[in-house]
Amino acid sequence: MASIPPSGVPSSKEKKYDRQLRLWGANGQNRLEAAHIALVGATSTGCEILKNLVLPCVGEFTIIDDKTVEESDLGTNFFLDEASIGKSRAERTMALLAELNPDVKGNFINNNLHELLETQPELFDPSTTKFTHIVVVSPFLTSDLLRLPQSIPLCLVYSVGFVTSFRLALPTHCIVETHPDSLVDLRLLSPWPELLEYATKQSAGLDAPESEGGMSDHQHGHVPYVVLLLKYLEDWKQTHNGSHPISYKEKNEFKAFIQSHMRTNVPGGSEENYEEAVAAVLKHIREPELSSATKAIFADARCAEPPANGDSFWITANAVSQFYSSPSQGAGVLPLSGSFPDMKAESSVYVELQNLYRARAQRDASLVFANVQATLDRLSLPTDSITLDDVTNFCKHANFLKHIDYCPLSDAFSEKPAEGFKDAVKAAWENWDAEDGLVYDYVALRGWQMFLDTHGKPPGVEDDSVENDRDEVSSNAQAFLKSVGIEDTISGTRTEKVVKELVRAGGGELHVIAALVGGIAAQELVKIITKQYIPVNNTVMFDGGSSRSAVFQF
C-alpha cells in the first residue's frame, strides 16, 4: 500500500478500500493482494464467491471450467450475459468478473479438473503451482478431489437448491491477529516496580481531607482508576495477610472498600473515577492466566522445536514461550500487550500512565525479539527475516493466538473413512437433541455425491427419473451411514426430506442460495488469506429453508 502523503490525505487506493481497511488494515490487504485463487467450476455459486474476492482486491484469479454457456446458465449466474451464449463459460465469467475491479488480474482455463490433473499436473503441484488457494464448487468427482495437494488451502462448496455446505481443508492455520474484543491487560496483581512507584506517587494524600493536606476535590476526582486500584490493593493486602481479593465474594468486598473511600460531598454526589474503579474490579483484577489456545500452542512440538523452514509463527511462539518461562524475563507472565483503556484522568497523568504500559510492552517485545534472533541464528536463517514490528505485534496478541489443525479431506472422503471422522459423524448423529440437526443434511448430501460419482451427473435432472433417483440417493445415504458405523435407518428422518429437496433441484442452483453460500465461503477465504479473524473448522451446513447453520468438525 502506498504510504500516507504528508498532508495525511489518503491515496485513491486507500479511499477505495477504506471500509475494509478498517477491518484488516494494510497488513491484511497486502496478503489479499498477494493471493491467487483458482476457481474450479464457473457456476453461479463459484462466481458469487469470486465476486466477493475480486471486489476487495484479491491479487489474481483463474477460472477452470470446460462448459459452453447455455441459456439456462443465465437464469442463475449474474456474471454471464446474452452475448455469452455458445461461448466458453470460463472465458465469459472471467471477463465479467474481472470487469468489477481493474486492480485484479483474471485468467481462465477452458478445461475440466479431471483432464488437467492428467495432462497438466504441474498446475496443481505444490512446487510449481501459482495458485495460493483453490475453490472447488459442485458438481465435482470425489476421485478428482482426492488428487489435489494437501498443502494448498482448499474450499469445497455445495449449492443444490436450498441445501448448501462448504468444507475447508488447509495446512495448520496460525493466526496472530484474531481481533478479540479487547487486548487490555492491566497487570494489577503483578505490577512491575515502575508502575507501582508511579501509583504510589500519584495517590499520595488520596484519603486525607483537603484541610489536612490531602487532595482537592478536583484532584481527587481525577486520579485514574488504575492508580486507585493499585493503591487500594496494597491497602487491602495489609489487612488480608498479603493476599489479593480473588474470589467473587472478596472482589465484592473490595468494591465496597473502594466505594467507602469515594468522596460524596461533591457535585453529583459521586466521583466518576471511583465508579470506574469499582466497575473495573471484576474484569481487570485477575491473575495473569494463559488462554487455552495459547497454552495449546506452547504445548505443541512445533513451538518447542520450530520447523527448520523458518515459519515465523512457530519461531516467535517459541521465543514468547521462552520469555514466559525464563525467571529473568517474564517469570510466569506473557509479554505485556501495551493496550491501555480510556479512563477519567488529567490528560498529562493519563499519557504518563499510558506511556508506562507502552514502555513495558516495548521492553518485553525487545526481549522476545532477542530470543527470536538467537533461534534464527541457531537455525542458520537470516536474522532479518522476522522484524521487531512483527514480534511486537505478536507479543501484543500473545494471549489471543490461535492455531487450527485441519483434518485432511481424505479422512472424510476416501473409501475407507478415518476413525476420527466416523466418531465425529456418530457423535453428531446420536446427539439427542439433533432431531432437526443439520447432520441429517450432511448425510443426505453424501448420498447425493455418491450418485454423482456413479453417474457423472446429479440426480433429478430428468422429470421422469425423479422418483428413481430419490430412491438411489436415499440408499446411498443409508450406505454412507453404515460406512461410518451407524446402524440406524434414515427412513422417517430429516435425511429423507433433505434427499427430496436435493433431487427436487436436479443439480440446479437457486440464485439466492448461491449468493448466500458465496458470501459465507468468501468471508472464510478472506479470513484465511489475510490470516486475521478465526476461520471455521471445518464443515458448515446451511439450510436455506429454515435459515439455520451448523458447524461440524468432520
Binding site: G8, G75, Y350, I534, G544, S547
Partner: protein, 430 residues
Amino acid sequence: MAAVEAPDYASGPRWRDLNRIFQREGGFHKDDDEPYNPEAQREFIKNKGKILVIGAGGLGCEILKNLALSGFTDIHVIDMDTIDISNLNRQFLFRASDVGKPKASVAASFIMSRVPGVTITPHYGAIQDKDTSYYSQFTLIICGLDSVEARRWINATLFSMSDPNEPDTFVPLIDGGTEGFKGQSRIIIPGLSSCYECSLDMLTPQTAVPICTLASIPRQPAHCIEWASLLEWPRVFEDKKLDTDDPEHISWLYETALQRAREFNITGVTYQLTQGVVKNIIPAIASTNAIIAASCCNEALKLMTNMHNYIDNYMMYTGDEGVYTHTFQHEKKEGCPVCGEKKTTMMEVEAEWTLQELIDKLKEKPDVQLKRPTITKNGKGLFYQAPVQLFESTKANLEKKVNELMQSGDVIDVTDPGLPFSVSVEIIFK
C-alpha cells in the same frame, strides 16, 4: 405492472433451474397444507409481486441482483445517495466512472441490461419524500439501509398504513443490516410479528463524550477530533456548516485535531480516524453484504410463494469467529410506541435534574434514542426543537428542575421531527 414481457417460467430455458424447484414439491411440504400448486406460484411471482427496495448501496445492489434472478420482474428502488469512491469495494454495480451519479439509476440500468425482462424503476430521493399512497402500491418492501433513523421511519409508516379490516393494506417489510463480519435479516409483518421499533434496545446507544473532557482533559485521539469538530469548527467558522463529505473540511479537522493532540502528547490522530469519528463510519465488506442480502431475498422468495417455509422472524449472522447463525422469533415489545398495545415506557429520574439533563438521558435511553427530542405534557409544550419561535419560547425550561415541570407518575410525550410517531414516557422520581 411492468410493460416488458415477463420471463416465461413454463418453458423458458433461461429459467430452467428455478422452474424445476417451483414445479416439484419440496421435502418439507407439510401434508396438512394445501396440495403443492406450482402454477399459482409462478403466476404470483410473474404478475403480482411488486417489490420496493430501499437503498441501492452495499445491500441494495445485491438485493436487486438477487430479485432479478429469482424471477421478480417489477422492482422499484429508492436511494438518496450518489456514488462515492469508497463504495466500489462492495457495491458491484458501480464503476469508477460512475462516481458522483445517483446510485438508484446506475444500479437499475446495470441490472436491466444484464437481465432482460426485468423492469427496475429508480427513484433518486429520500424515503420521507414519499407518502403512504406510494408505499401501499407494493406487495413487499426490502430494506438495505445503514441508517437507524430511516428504518424507524419506514417501519412506523408501514404500521400506520395497516388497517386491520383491510388485509391488502399490510405490506410486509424485510430488513437487512451489516457491520463488519456481522449482520442480521428479519421479516416484519404488521400485526403479526415484532417490529423494528420493538428491537431498538438491541442497538447500543451512542454515549457522547462529556464536553468537559473534550474541552479540558482530552486523552484519546478521538477526543481531539471531536473537539475540533464540535467546539473549534463552530468557533472558527461561525456561520459555515460542517460538511463531512467535503475533503477540505475533513483536512481542516484532521490538522486541527493533530495540533491539539501534539499539545497534549496524545498519539494516534490520523486522517482515516478523523473521517471515521466525524462520519461515524461502519466497516463494510462485500461478503457480509452478500450473505445478508441473499438471506433477505431468500425469505422474500419463500414469503411470496409456498415453495418453502419462511423464517419466523429473525436471523443473526456472526462471522468474525467461525460461522455462527442464530435464528429465532423476536418477540413484540409490550410498550412499543409503534406496534404495542400499551404504548408507554418508564424512566426513573432524579427530581433535581434539569430538563436538559433529562433530555440528555432520554437520548441515550436504549428504547428511545431520539436525536432531537421535543417534549410535551398533556398537549402543553415543555420544550420544542423547532420551529424557531417555539424553541425560543420554551428554551428557558431547559434550565428548570424536573420537579418544577412535572410530578412523579406524569406521562410526557416525546417526538422527533424525523419520526412519524411519539414515545410516551412515564416519569418516576427516584
